[in-house]
Amino acid sequence: MGKVFNIQKFCTSDGPGIRTTVFLKGCPLRCVWCHNPESHSFSDELSYNSDNCISCGRCVMSCPNQCHKIINGGHVFDRNACRSCFRCIQPACKALKRYGYEISADEIIQDAMKDEAFYRNSGGGITLSGGEPFAQPEFCVEILKKAKENGLHTCIETCGHISTDILAQSLDFVDLYLFDYKETDPVKHTEYTGVDNTLILENLRYINSVGKQIILRCPLIPTFNDTKEHFEGIADIANKYANIIKVEIEPYHDFGCNKYEQLGKAINEQIKSIGVSEKTNIEGVLAYIQDKTSKPVIIA
C-alpha cells in the first residue's frame, strides 16, 4: 500500500500519448514555486476553499473537535484544532476536501488498465508523479513493475533527489524518465528548493550512463530561474548526456497559489506576485536554448 493524492486520467503532457498520471504524496524538496502544495506532506491533509462554502453548517455538526463554526452566518475554520479525522467532509460539500488516501499498486493498475485501449492507440501509458514518487520507494517500484507486467509504457517524473540505489531498482521497469532540472547554480538551487543539487546531478548522470531515455523538464519561473546562465546550463546538460532526448520548458502558472491558503500553508510572497506582474518571453527562451543544443526544445 502507498499514499497518493490524485490519479488523473487523460494526461497528455506527462510523457507520450494519452496517459494516466498517479500523483504520489510526499516530497523531499520545497520548491518555492511548487503548484502542488498538497503533495509536500506524507500525511493526509484537509483543504478548505471558502469560495465554495455555502455555510450550510453540516460540517459543524459532524466535527468532534469544534473546528468548524458558523459565526454571523459565515463559516469559520480553526485549523489548529483540527485532528485530521475528515469527518467534516459531508456529501456534496464542495468546500472541504481531503488530499491523500491509501491505495495498493494492484488497485492503481486495475484502474489504469481501464484506459489500455487509449494508451495503445496513442502510444501512451502510465506516469508516476508527485510529490516525489521515489519518496515512497517500495510502493513506487511495485507500481512500475506491475505496470510493465501488464504491458504498459511507463514514465516517472522525478526531482532526482533520491538515493541512487532506489533509482537502480527502477531501471528495468521505466521506459522514460521525466527528470526535473530546476536551477543550474547550486547556491540558488538550495535557496529555491531547499536542497543541494549534487545528488540530483549524480542521478542524472547515472540514468544517462545506463542508457535509459530522459526528457529534461525545466520549470521556467520569472524572477527566479529565467536567467541566461540557467538557460545555458540547460543546453549544456542536454548536450552532455546522449540519452536526453528532449528538453521541455514548463512555463509558470499560478494555478497552485490558492491551494496554499486552502491548506493553511504560507506561500512565498515573490511567487504570489508573479502571476500579475511578470511575463516571460517563452518563445524567446525556447529559441535561446534551442540555438545552443541540437536536442528538441519545446513547451511542455
Partner: protein, 685 residues
C-alpha cells in the same frame, strides 16, 4: 471562365485575389440582416392573383413556383464565385411571415448525382416516359407538375446566366446556359447547377435541411473532369470553398428557436458527407476547402471506416482540430454493420448519410421523420404513480409506457398523407428522388421505397442516475421505503436538503464506474424496444440517443428526479452525463458512454468539450478508441471559458465564434443567455 479571367489578368492564379474574394463573401454573410426575410417571395405569395393561380388546379403549387421564379430578381455580386442569391428585406409586419402557401418538406438529400448525369431534361424525359406507360391521372399530374417546375428553373437559370455575364462572371454564365437543365460537364458546372436547385428548394419553395449527401462520391467524376481540363488541385479547393460559403448565405445566423430569421429555411444546417469505404482525392479537397472557409456551414460529416486509409484518417483529425464544432465524425463501420443486421442490402447499407441534427438517412433514398420520445417525463410519471420492489420492475413498467407512446406516434404518422399535401410539400423535391420519378408518385403517396423514422431517447444520464439513486437508497441500503423516497423527490426535496446533498454526491454516469450499468440497462431496453417494432416493408425505425434542445425546452414541465435534479432544471444532453457530473477525465467519460448499446443505433450524438487546442493525434486516439468500443459519433467543441465570458459581454468582437450545440455548430453570440450559460457549464477537458 472565372479562373481563366484571373489567369489572363495576372498570368497565373492570383491567390491573393481568391482569398480577398472569399473574405469579402464571408463578410457579406456577417453583415447581412438576420431579421430580414426573402422579401420578393413574401410579396409574391401575399399578392397571389387568384384569377391566375387557381387553388383548385392540380398544378396550383407548381404554377406558383413557376410564377415566382419568373418574377424574382437574379442578383449577382461581382465577387461571386457561384451565382444565386435571394433579395432580402424587412417587412413592416412579421405577421404571416414566412408565407406557407408554398412550403416543401426538406430534411432530405436530393439525388444530385442523377441531376448532374441527366440534367432536368433527362429526368423529365424519364418521368414523361414512366407517366405515359402508367397513363393514370396521378402520374400525368406528376409529370405536368414536373414539366412546369423544370421549365421554370430553366428560365430562371437562363436569366441568371445573363445577369452573371453582365457582371463579367463568364464561367458562371456559361454554366447556367446549360445546367441544371442539361447534364453537368465539369465540377464547377455541377456545383453551380446544384446551387440553383438548393437555393430554390431552401429559399423559394422553402424548407430547412436539404443536404448534399456523399459529395466526395457523387461529385468525383466531375472532379476528375476538372483536373483533366487543367484545373489544379488548389484551384479546385477554391471552387469548393466558394461553394461552401454559399451555404452560409441562406439560413440566417441564429438558432431555429431564438430570434430566428423569418424564412422557412431558418437555421438550416448544410451537411456534406464524405469518407466511407472509399475516400478519394476529392474527400481531401473537401476537408481543405472547409478549413479555408471555416464558417458555421457547411457541417462536414466524416464517415470513418475502421479500414480507411491512414492518410484520410489523419487528414480527418487534422481538419477536426481546425473545424472543431463544424465537423461530425461517425463510425461508418458500426452503422453499416447495424444496417446489415436490419436486413438492408449491402448496396443500401453502404450508402447512408447524416443530415441535420445528427439524423440518419439512406442517402437520397428516403425521407425521414424524427420523433423524440418523452423519455424523462414518462419516467417521472411511472416512478411517481406506482410502487416498485426492484429496479427491473421499474424498467419494465417504464418501457411498457414508452412503447405505448411510440406505437401511438407511429400510427399517427403512418396515416395516409393527402395527395394535395404531398404535391405541395414535394413540388420540387420529388424530382430528385429516383423512386418518385420512376413511379410518378410523391414520396408519401407511394413514391418511396424507404421511409426512415429516427426515434430518439433523450436524458439517458438523468434516467440512469435516478435509477442508481433509487436502487441504492431504497432497495440496497433501505434508508427509505420506495414511497418515502419518491415523496421526497416529488416534493422537490422540500425540507430534505440532506437527502438532496446525498443523492447529488452519489457516483454518476460518465466516470467509468459501476453505476454506468444503469445507463447500459436503460439503453439496452430502449434499442430493443425500437429495433423490435414491426413496420411495413421499407419502413425503418432507427434508435438513437439524442436530445436536440429538449433537455432545456421540456425541462420546465418536468418535476424533480431521484438523481437530485430539481423541478425545471435541464436534464442530460444527448449521450452525455449530466453537465458537470463527469469528473474523472475524458477517457473515463468515453468508457462510460461506450457502455450504451451504440452499435445498435445509427443516429444520435456525443459531444466532447475541450478547454484548449488538442493535438490531432490525441483526437484520433480518443475517437478511434471510442469507435473500437462501439461508439457511434463524436462532435467536439474547443472553448476557452474566458473567451466565452468575454463574448457574452462584448458580442461584437466575436461574430464568428461558434460552439457545438446538440448536433451542429451555432454562433455563440446569437444564442439566448440560458443556452450560453449551459455551454459554459459543460465539463471542459
Amino acid at each position: 471562365m472565372y479562373f481563366s479571367f484571373i489567369r489572363t489578368l495576372f498570368g497565373k492564379i492570383d491567390m491573393k485575389i481568391i482569398n480577398e474574394k472569399l473574405n469579402y463573401l464571408k463578410e457579406l454573410v456577417f453583415e447581412s440582416d438576420n431579421t430580414a426575410c426573402f422579401i420578393e417571395r413574401e410579396k409574391f405569395l401575399n399578392n397571389l392573383d387568384t384569377s391566375v393561380y387557381n387553388v383548385e388546379s392540380l398544378n396550383y403549387h407548381a404554377n406558383i413556383l413557376a410564377g415566382m421564379l419568373d418574377n424574382v430578381s437574379v442578383p449577382v455580386d461581382e465577387n461571386d464565385i457561384f451565382v444565386g442569391r435571394v433579395v432580402e428585406g424587412v417587412l413592416d409586419s412579421f405577421e404571416g411571415v414566412p408565407n406557407r402557401t408554398l412550403k416543401s418538406n426538406g430534411h432530405m438529400s436530393p439525388e444530385y448525382a442523377r441531376l448532374w448525369q441527366k440534367g432536368y431534361k433527362g429526368i423529365l424525359a424519364d418521368i414523361k416516359k414512366n407517366a405515359e406507360q402508367r397513363s393514370d391521372e396521378k402520374s400525368m399530374v406528376f409529370y405536368e407538375n414536373a414539366r412546369i417546375v423544370v421549365e421554370a428553373i430553366r428560365r430562371y437559370s437562363k436569366r441568371y446566366a445573363d445577369a452573371a455575364r453582365s457582371k463579367g462572371l463568364t464561367r458562371a454564365a456559361d454554366a447556367l446556359e446549360r445546367v441544371p437543365y442539361e447534364p453537368a460537364y465539369d465540377l464547377y458546372s455541377a456545383l453551380q447547377g446544384a446551387w440553383i436547385v438548393h437555393l430554390i428548394a431552401s429559399c423559394y419553395v422553402g424548407a430547412r435541411d436539404y443536404a448534399f449527401g456523399r459529395l466526395d462520391q457523387s461529385l468525383y467524376p466531375y472532379y476528375l473532369k476538372e483536373l483533366a481540363n487543367g484545373t489544379t488541385k488548389e484551384e479546385i479547393e477554391d471552387i469548393l470553398a466558394g461553394f461552401f460559403i454559399k451555404t452560409n448565405e441562406i439560413c440566417g445566423r441564429t438558432s431555429w428557436n431564438y430570434k430566428r430569421k423569418p424564412i422557412l429555411c431558418n437555421s438550416s444546417k448544410q451537411y456534406v458527407n464524405i469518407g466511407g469505404e472509399n475516400p478519394n482525392e476529392l474527400s481531401f479537397a473537401i476537408l481543405a476547402a472547409a478549413k479555408k472557409v471555416n464558417m458555421a456551414q457547411p457541417q462536414i460529416v466524416v464517415l470513418l471506416d475502421s479500414g480507411a486509409n491512414e492518410k484520410f484518417t489523419d487528414a480527418t483529425f487534422e481538419a477536426l482540430t481546425v473545424l472543431t464544432d463544424k465537423m461530425n465524425v461517425y463510425s461508418y463501420t458500426s452503422v453499416k454493420s447495424f444496417l446489415l443486421e436490419k436486413g438492408l442490402s449491402e448496396e443500401i447499407a453502404s450508402d447512408f448519410t447524416y443530415s441535420a441534427c445528427c439524423t440518419f438517412d439512406l442517402n437520397h433514398r428516403n425521407i425521414r421523420e424524427e420523433y423524440f420520445l418523452p423519455s424523462v417525463q414518462t419516467f417521472c410519471n411511472v416512478i411517481y404513480e406506482k410502487d416498485f420492489d426492484n429496479i427491473n420492475e421499474i424498467v419494465e413498467a417504464y418501457f411498457d409506457a414508452l412503447r405505448e407512446n411510440l406505437l401511438e406516434h407511429l400510427d399517427l404518422v403512418q396515416q395516409k398523407v393527402s395527395f394535395t399535401k404531398n404535391r405541395k410539400a414535394f413540388v420540387l423535391d420529388a424530382l430528385l428522388i429516383g423512386d418518385c420519378t420512376e413511379k410518378c408518385r410523391y414520396p408519401l403517396n407511394g413514391g418511396l421505397t424507404y421511409h426512415v423514422y429516427n426515434v430518439f431517447f433523450s436524458g439517458i444520464a438523468t434516467v440512469a442516475d435516478s435509477l442508481a439513486a433509487i436502487d441504492k437508497l431504497v432497495f440496497e441500503e433501505k434508508r427509505f421505503t420506495y414511497r418515502e423516497f419518491i415523496d421526497i423527490v416529488k416534493s422537490n426535496y422540500q425540507g430534505n436538503d440532506d437527502v438532496l446533498a446525498f443523492v447529488t454526491s452519489l457516483p454518476k454516469y460518465g466516470n467509468d464506474l459501476s453505476v454506468d450499468k444503469y445507463a447500459a440497462m436503460v439503453g439496452e431496453a430502449f434499442v430493443s424496444m425500437v429495433n423490435s417494432i414491426s413496420l411495413p416493408k421499407g419502413k425503418y425505425a432507427i434508435p438513437g440517443f439524442y436530445s436536440l434542445d429538449k433537455d432545456n425546452r421540456w425541462a420546465k414541465d418536468i418535476p424533480a428526479t431521484p438523481d437530485g435534479r430539481l423541478w425545471g432544471d435541464p436534464f442530460s444532453e444527448n449521450q452525455s452525463p449530466t453537465y458537470g457530473a463527469d469528473r474523472n477525465g475524458i477517457t473515463s467519460l468515453i468508457n462510460s458512454v461506450s457502455r450504451l448499446p451504440l452499435e445498435k443505433t445509427a443516429t444520435g450524438g456525443f459531444n466532447l468539450t475541450f478547454s484548449g487546442a488538442v493535438k490531432p493525434e490525441i483526437l484520433k486516439a480518443l475517437v478511434t478508441t471510442f469507435f473500437e468500443k462501439g461508439g457511434l459519433h463524436v462532435g467536439i467543441t474547443v472553448l476557452s471559458r474566458r473567451e466565452l465570458e468575454d463574448a457574452m459581454k462584448t458580442p461584437d468582437k466575436y461574430k464568428s465564434l461558434t460552439v457545438r450545440l446538440y448536433g451542429f455548430s451555432e454562433y455563440f453570440i446569437n444564442m439566448p443567455e440560458w443556452q450560453q450559460r449551459a455551454i459554459l457549464n459543460r465539463t471542459a477537458y
